[in-house]
C-alpha cells in the first residue's frame, strides 16, 4: 500500500468524514459560507461567540471530499469553547501544519495533526483549509469565502 495515501486518509479522518461531528445548523449564530468552486466543495459554518469573544458554539453543514469534511468536523471539536486568542493560534498553527515544511507548535491541535499528510498533496490543501477559512471569516463576522487561490 501507498504510505502517503495511508497517511492522508487515516482511519480517524475517514471516520470523521463519514460521521462528521457537530454537523447541523445553529439558529441565531453567525453564518458563513465557503466554497472551492473548482472542486464543488461547500461549507456553511455557524458560529456563536461568547460575550468575551470566545467560541461558544459551532456547527457546520456542507458537501465535499473526505479531507474537507474531516477537517471541518475536527475543527469544530477543537475550537468549541476556546478563547478567541487560542482559536486564532490554533488556526495559525493548523495552517502551518498543512502547508509548511517546518513543524508548527502542535499543542492543542489534537487529532487535527492527523491532517499533516495533506502537505504531500499540495492541491488538497484548499480542501483542508476550507472550514478554517470560513472560521477566519466568522472571526471578521460573516460573508462568503473561497480557498480557491491556495
Amino acid at each position: 500500500m501507498n504510505d502517503e495515501l495511508e497517511e492522508l486518509y487515516q482511519q480517524v479522518i475517514l471516520d470523521h468524514s463519514k460521521r462528521p461531528r457537530n454537523f447541523g445548523k445553529l439558529p441565531d449564530a453567525i453564518h458563513v459560507h465557503g466554497d472551492n468552486p473548482s472542486c464543488g466543495d461547500e461549507i456553511r459554518l455557524d458560529v456563536k461567540f461568547g460575550p468575551d469573544g470566545s467560541v461558544a458554539d459551532m456547527k457546520f453543514t456542507g458537501t465535499g471530499c473526505a479531507i474537507s469534511q474531516a477537517s471541518a468536523s475536527l475543527m469544530t471539536l477543537k475550537l468549541k469553547g476556546k478563547p478567541r486568542a487560542e482559536a486564532e493560534r490554533l488556526m495559525h498553527n493548523f495552517h502551518t501544519l498543512v502547508t509548511s515544511d517546518t513543524e508548527p507548535d502542535t499543542k492543542g491541535l489534537g487529532d487535527l495533526v492527523l491532517l499533516r499528510g495533506v502537505r504531500k498533496f499540495p492541491q488538497r490543501v484548499k480542501c483542508a483549509m476550507l472550514a478554517w477559512r470560513a472560521f477566519e471569516q466568522a472571526l471578521g463576522e460573516g460573508g462568503a469565502v473561497t480557498t480557491e487561490g491556495e
Partner: protein
C-alpha cells in the same frame, strides 16, 4: 488504413506518443483524462519543431521565402481541416484558440447581429460552460431568452419540436463530456432547419473521435478544439456556412482582417480573414494540420470502434464494483465513463488513483448546472483515446476495487 487495425497496430500507434512511456508515482502512467486534453504524437511535435527550425515567419503579407512557406503551411492546414470536416469551401474554416473562442465568436457576431429581445436561444441541460456562459452573456446584451432541452434519466435528450418555438439559434453538444451521450446531431439539425432555426454543434468531444461531415450533419456552425484531437494547445476552429459567415459583422479588429483602413473607418476582408485579426497561431495551425493527417491515416471509424470497445469494457467493469453507478446512456456512448462511487468523493478517488499512476478527473467537468440537476457533487470520469488499451481499463478496475476497500474500511 485499408484493413482493420489489429491489436499490434494499436500498440504501434501507442508508441507514437512519447508522454505515455513514463511512470507516475512509481507506476506506469495510465492517462484517462483525454476528454480534458489529448496527448500528442511525435509527428505533431515534430511538425512544430520543423516549422520553427525551417519556415517560421509571419503570414500573408510577406514576399520573402520564409513568409511564403509559412503562409503555405498555414493555409495548407486550413485546407486539411476543411476537408476533414467535409466543408464545401476552405474559406469556411476560421482558426480560433479552441471551442470556447469559436462559440464566443458566433455569439458576438451572428448573435449580436441576429438576436432581439425575447428571441429564444435553445440549449440543452448537458452543455459545457463554454456552450452556456457565452449565451448567457449574449442574452444579457440583447434581451434574448435561454431555453433548455431536458436531459432524462438515461442521460439522453428529451427533444421535441415544440421546444423550437420562437427559437433563433439551437446550440448543442455533439458528445457530452460529462455523460458520454452521443446526441443525434443530424436529426436535431434537421428539425431545426425545418423551422428556420440556425444550429451550432459543439464538437469538442467529437471532432477527433468519430467521422464528422458538417454537410451531412446539416448544422450551420461546428466548433472544436485541436488540443483534444492530438493537435497543439491554443488552436481550434469554427466551421460556418459561407452564407452566414459573409453576413456576420467582424469581432476582433486589427491587422490581417481589413481591406482598407482610414483613420475613421475600415472595410473588411471576406471570411475567413475577416474573423482572424492579428497574427494567428501559425505553428498551432500547422500542428493541427499534422494532427488531422495523423488521425486520417488511422481512420476515424477505426478510432471510434476502438474507443467504443474501451468505453463498453469500462462501463461493464465499473458496474461490477459495489456502490458505483455509471452515468449516461446504456447503449452506444462516447469515449468516456463518468461515475458516482457511494464510498468515495470524486476528489479523494482521483487523488487515490493518481498515487497508482492513473489519471482520472473528478469534479463537475464544467457542467455545474447538470451536476446540480443530478444532485451530484461531481463525478469521477475516465475518458479514453485510441492509444489507450483494454489492459489499462482492466488495471483501472483493479485500482478502483482496491480503492473501495481502502475508503470503505
Amino acid at each position: 488504413m485499408m484493413r482493420a487495425m489489429t491489436n499490434n497496430d494499436w500498440m504501434k500507434v501507442r508508441a507514437d506518443f512519447p508522454i505515455l512511456d513514463q511512470q507516475v508515482n512509481g507506476k506506469p502512467l495510465i492517462y484517462f483524462d483525454n476528454a480534458a486534453s489529448s496527448q500528442k504524437p511525435r509527428a505533431v511535435i515534430a511538425a512544430l519543431a520543423h516549422y520553427y527550425e525551417h519556415d517560421n515567419a509571419n503570414v500573408h503579407r510577406g514576399l520573402h521565402e520564409l513568409s511564403s512557406r509559412a503562409t503555405d503551411a498555414f493555409e495548407g492546414a486550413r485546407m486539411k481541416v476543411a476537408k476533414y470536416l467535409g466543408a464545401s469551401q476552405t474559406e469556411e474554416i476560421i482558426f480560433t484558440r479552441g471551442t470556447t473562442e469559436a462559440i464566443n465568436l458566433v455569439a458576438n457576431t451572428w448573435g449580436v447581429r441576429n438576436l432581439r429581445a425575447d428571441d429564444v436561444i435553445l440549449l440543452t441541460e448537458m452543455e459545457h460552460h463554454s456552450n452556456l456562459v457565452p449565451w448567457q452573456l449574449l442574452a444579457e446584451r440583447t434581451g434574448a431568452k435561454l431555453r433548455f432541452v431536458p436531459v432524462v434519466d438515461d442521460g439522453t435528450l428529451a427533444f421535441e419540436p415544440a421546444l423550437l418555438d420562437g427559437v433563433k439559434l439551437f446550440s448543442f453538444v455533439h458528445i457530452s463530456n460529462s455523460l458520454g451521450t452521443i446526441n443525434p446531431a443530424a436529426e436535431l439539425c434537421r428539425a431545426a432547419r425545418a423551422t428556420g432555426v440556425v444550429t451550432l454543434v459543439d464538437g469538442a468531444q467529437s471532432s477527433g473521435h468519430l467521422p464528422v461531415n458538417v454537410r451531412e450533419m446539416g448544422c450551420d456552425f461546428y466548433a472544436f478544439s485541436g488540443h483534444k484531437m492530438c493537435a497543439p494547445t491554443g488552436i481550434g476552429a469554427l466551421w460556418g456556412r459561407m452564407e452566414l459567415l459573409q453576413e456576420m459583422p467582424p469581432w476582433h479588429g486589427g491587422g490581417e482582417m481589413i481591406v482598407s483602413v482610414t483613420y475613421e473607418r475600415a472595410t473588411y476582408k471576406q471570411p475567413p480573414h475577416k474573423f482572424e485579426a492579428g497574427t494567428p497561431n501559425i505553428a498551432g495551425a500547422v500542428g493541427l494540420g499534422a494532427a488531422v493527417d495523423y488521425l486520417e491515416n488511422i481512420g476515424r471509424s477505426e478510432i471510434f470502434a476502438h474507443d467504443s470497445e474501451l468505453a463498453a469494457l469500462a462501463v461493464a467493469r465499473l458496474g461490477e464494483i459495489p456502490g458505483i453507478r455509471v452515468l449516461g446512456p446504456s447503449g452506444q456512448r462516447g469515449a468516456l465513463a463518468a461515475f458516482h462511487a457511494g464510498w468515495a468523493h470524486p476528489h479523494d478517488l482521483t487523488t487515490y488513483a493518481n498515487e497508482h499512476g492513473l489519471a482520472l478527473r473528478g469534479g463537475h467537468h464544467c457542467t455545474q448546472p447538470l451536476m446540480r440537476k443530478l444532485r451530484l457533487p461531481g463525478t469521477t470520469r475516465a475518458s479514453f483515446y485510441f492509444y489507450n488499451t483494454t489492459g489499462e481499463v482492466e488495471r483501472m478496475a483493479e485500482i478502483l476495487r482496491a480503492a473501495r476497500k481502502f475508503f470503505d474500511r
